[in-house]
Symmetry: C2
Subunit: 138 residues, 2 copies
DNA sequence: ATACGATCTCTAGTGACTAGAGGTTCAAGA
DNA sequence: TCTTGAACCTCTAGTCACTAGAGATCGTAT
């Protein structure tokens, strides 16, 4: 049995975030001391580690709630878990694609200015004013 | 002179977003009709196009405000504009790097599950429970 | 017994919008 | 000129995943 601060230290999840997860329904409300302080056990620690890892991989709170729900039904098909992971992967890939397009344009834009001129002639400002200078869509 | 709806159509920025930009100080408050409706001119259109383009490239409202301020002083050095663009490029690159690490782990995780088993044996759920299965940090 | 760090609840703020309520104005057609 | 209805107005609240702070209480070590 350990306090919320101890749980925080063991998982690298901040105390207010742990309370937020409880309020959001991701974490079960733990036991309390007589003085109303939360006390966790190994199950709580494992659960929070799962949540932390999933958040680090970019899953939304909603997706994590669904995954936790699945975990609670060990004999159900895991198709939905697979769907959630696949959707997350697609999402990440879409973000990468978009960011790569931005990277190309930004590299071009920042290369066009050495920071030595005046703003009137600045290629950064000119580029932002005119998408026609961009080499592709973004 | 045209309405906010017309400005919205020409820039592909939604009407409430235009009002939000005005409230945030990015757009000057335009003239109003006797009945209190906003009326824009070419200058407003140009300004909003600039903002839209910068937002599409991922610049924050705050950065855009700084860039607009620089635009208003044509004879000042453009070093700051260059700094802002460079910082944005670094930011995008850092995001790409992180997302690529996530992509690798997520690809491994979702490949390890074909969605045919039960959740008890699911590699997706096992991987989320145990960061030790990950091949690298993320 | 006292001190003091940790914990409690509650409210509000972040960024960049988006949605909705309830009311007013504009412009086109009759 | 009148009427209709789309477009406009302001204001509040909601989104996501936290983060910050106030003010009060608790737990534990000395
Ligand atoms: Zn420059
Ligand atoms: Zn562009
Ligand atoms: Zn599976
Ligand atoms: Zn991992």
């Amino acid at each position: 049995m350990f306090s919320i601060g101890e749980l925080s230290r063991r998982t690298n999840v901040k105390v207010p975030t742990i309370r937020y997860y409880e309020e959001s329904g991701l974490l079960d409300a733990p036991e309390r001391t007589e003085g109303n302080q939360r006390r966790y056990d190994a199950v709580g620690l494992e659960r929070l580690s799962f949540i932390k890892h999933a958040r680090d991989l970019g899953f939304s709170i909603e997706a994590i709630a669904a995954l936790i729900d699945l975990q609670g039904h060990p004999d159900r098909s895991c198709a939905e878990a697979n769907d959630i992971a696949t959707a997350q992967l697609s999402d990440v890939r879409a973000k990468i694609k978009r960011l790569r397009a931005l990277e190309k344009e930004l590299a071009r834009i920042s290369k066009g200015c050495d920071g030595d001129g005046v703003t009137e002639d600045c290629y950064v400002l000119a580029s932002l004013s005119d998408h026609g200078l961009c080499e592709r869509e973004h």
